[in-house]
């Protein structure tokens, strides 16, 4: 069996930041931003599911680290075709930078055990760092294939991948295990499957059950795994804020220059006089 772990993040939708999303002190009001499935993680899920289409005996586990609410994106992954899901959650994980995040996620991947492929999006839109993937690969001591655009070939023990680089492409081949980060130019993710939505809409984590937010169909084993720091046998010093070498010293609102603008109509005459002026000043 091929075991694939897909790394998912629930992110604030930074692409559609409205005026309400910024507080007067210049910080971001996360509560005002809709939480979404990180776009490139959807591309990553599709890569995993497409491997499952081609090779027999593939098991896809979606995993996310975040607050209890992040179980939403795990259900979404189940609706689209993931076989199981794990939420990694604990207050101790809060404030983690990419190093602490990659440490925690690598422990979770080790706990799943014998994983052949770890697949995630290239980067998350809230930080745009693209660091967690390569850092998990280092922690697991496996090769990393970044910016994947297409699976060219895949078998039970190796994979051939087309990578999208700044000015071209590369095709590389590697034996399992390895970690892949997926570029936005890869195929979009398949839609939710209606039958799967019916089946998994009651799937939830223990914390969600305790919060009474969900009614669970426990008879059908629709519990989303939930692991905390103790489950991962992690050292507290390596987690969250304590395990993060980078600290945020300060946050500034973006202040852009403003100047007096001379207004010109689009009449041929006015445009001509502007061009003449620029020419006289040797700007053109």
């Amino acid at each position: 069996m091929i075991k694939i772990v897909v790394l998912i993040k629930q992110v604030p939708d930074t692409r559609n930041i409205g005026k309400d999303a910024m507080k007067s002190d210049g910080t971001v009001n996360r509560a005002e931003l809709p939480a979404i499935f990180n776009p490139e993680d959807l591309n990553a899920l599709e890569v995993a599911l497409s491997i499952k289409d081609i090779v027999p005996n593939v098991e896809v586990t979606a995993i996310t680290m975040g607050p209890v609410r992040a179980a939403e994106v795990l259900r979404e992954a189940l609706y689209r075709g993931a076989d199981q899901a794990v939420l990694v959650t604990d207050r101790k994980f809060a404030g983690a930078d990419t190093l602490a995040t990659s440490h925690t996620l690598s422990l979770a991947i080790k706990k799943i055990g014998n994983v052949d492929l770890v697949i995630g999006g290239r980067q998350a839109i809230d930080g745009d760092t693209a660091q967690v993937g390569p850092q998990i690969a280092e922690k697991l001591n496996i090769p990393q294939i970044t910016y994947a655009e297409e699976i060219v070939e895949v078998s039970e023990n190796k994979i051939r991948i087309k990578r999208r680089l700044e000015r071209g492409i590369e095709v590389v081949e590697v034996l399992f295990p390895c970690l892949i980060t997926v570029h936005s130019s890869a195929a979009p993710c398949r839609f939710k499957n209606a039958k799967r939505v019916m089946k998994y809409k009651k799937a939830c984590t223990i914390s969600e059950l305790q919060d009474d937010k969900k009614e669970s169909d426990t008879d059908n084993n629709l519990i989303i795994e939930e692991w905390n720091a103790a489950d991962l046998e992690a050292y507290p010093d390596s987690l969250g804020l304590a395990g993060s070498p980078t600290k945020v010293k300060k946050i500034d609102n973006v202040v852009l220059l403003q100047k007096e603008s001379r207004i010109i109509t689009s009449s041929e005459k006015e445009i001509q006089s502007l061009i003449q002026e620029l020419s006289k000043e040797h700007i053109l």
Binding site: P143, V172, I264
Partner: protein, 339 residues
Amino acid sequence: MNIFVYCEITEEGTIAEVSLELLSKGRKLANQLNVKLEAVVIGNNMMNIEKQLFPYGVDVVYFAESEKLFPYSTLPHFSIVSKLFEEKKPQIALFGATSVGRDLAPRVASRLRCGLTADCTALEIGEHIDSKTGTVYTNLLYQIRPAFGGNIIATIINPETRPQMATVREGVMLKETVTHDDKAVVVKLRVEDYISDDDFVVKMIVREIEAKKINIKNAQIIVSGGYGMGSKENFSKLHELAAQIGGEVGATRAAVDAGFAEHERQIGQTGVTVRPKLYIACGISGAVQHRSGMEESALIISINIDPNASINTIADYTIIGDANDVLPKMLKAIKSINH
């Protein structure tokens, strides 16, 4: 305890622009901290690296040369850089925020368990007082970067761990040569001491890289289009005007995402930062992410149907109208002057 810059190698065998820009910044930081500037060059058949690097004030070049080391592949470069850093213990290490730097730097940071900040737009030296412990840290690297889609600017520090690592995009730092009296040293690394067969488990099957063709970074005039241009076909009007006045065509992220222009033309936080003497913004609303990549242009002309577009607040001239209608008129006016 010096400053290290990982130098990328182009297809032509030269040191990449972004690396020369980082060396220029690194030199200034090194002067401020009174330490040396050291370059790491990993490749094959490199000609005259001294000649290429020394004008930028490099004190030491660590040079690993082998046919196995070009083109770039993660694991061998990772092994060399991380082992070299373990030996030399840099206080600051800089990488280009390119497909190579963003692949390599996080893996190195993970091995060395140190902090890394991606896509910095400014680097400064400063101090920090821990509000809880009262510990005073001096000479820290302030790693300044946009976050949350460019709506905020964060200053990141790594108080405890070394090296303090950062990646920086091409075109953000200024490339500057310096007069430097001290003679620089080239240290050739024994490659076999740094890499093993395990570093070559990823096999390169195909590699198609185009030489760099578009260079908007150094253009004196930029005619730039946004999503408001409407289509790829309409972008040809920008090309016509740019060709007539000796400029280059730029684009916003939205226009690039919509397929109106190539990625290399993208100006803004996730593209290139430009400072031309003339910037003509056509159908560009002026999102923060774009403006911060062009607001230092000497003269800005905005052509926009919307008189309230935020780009107009930083424009010297605002032409109210559809760029598809205004551009041909500008072209006509310029041609009449040239006659």
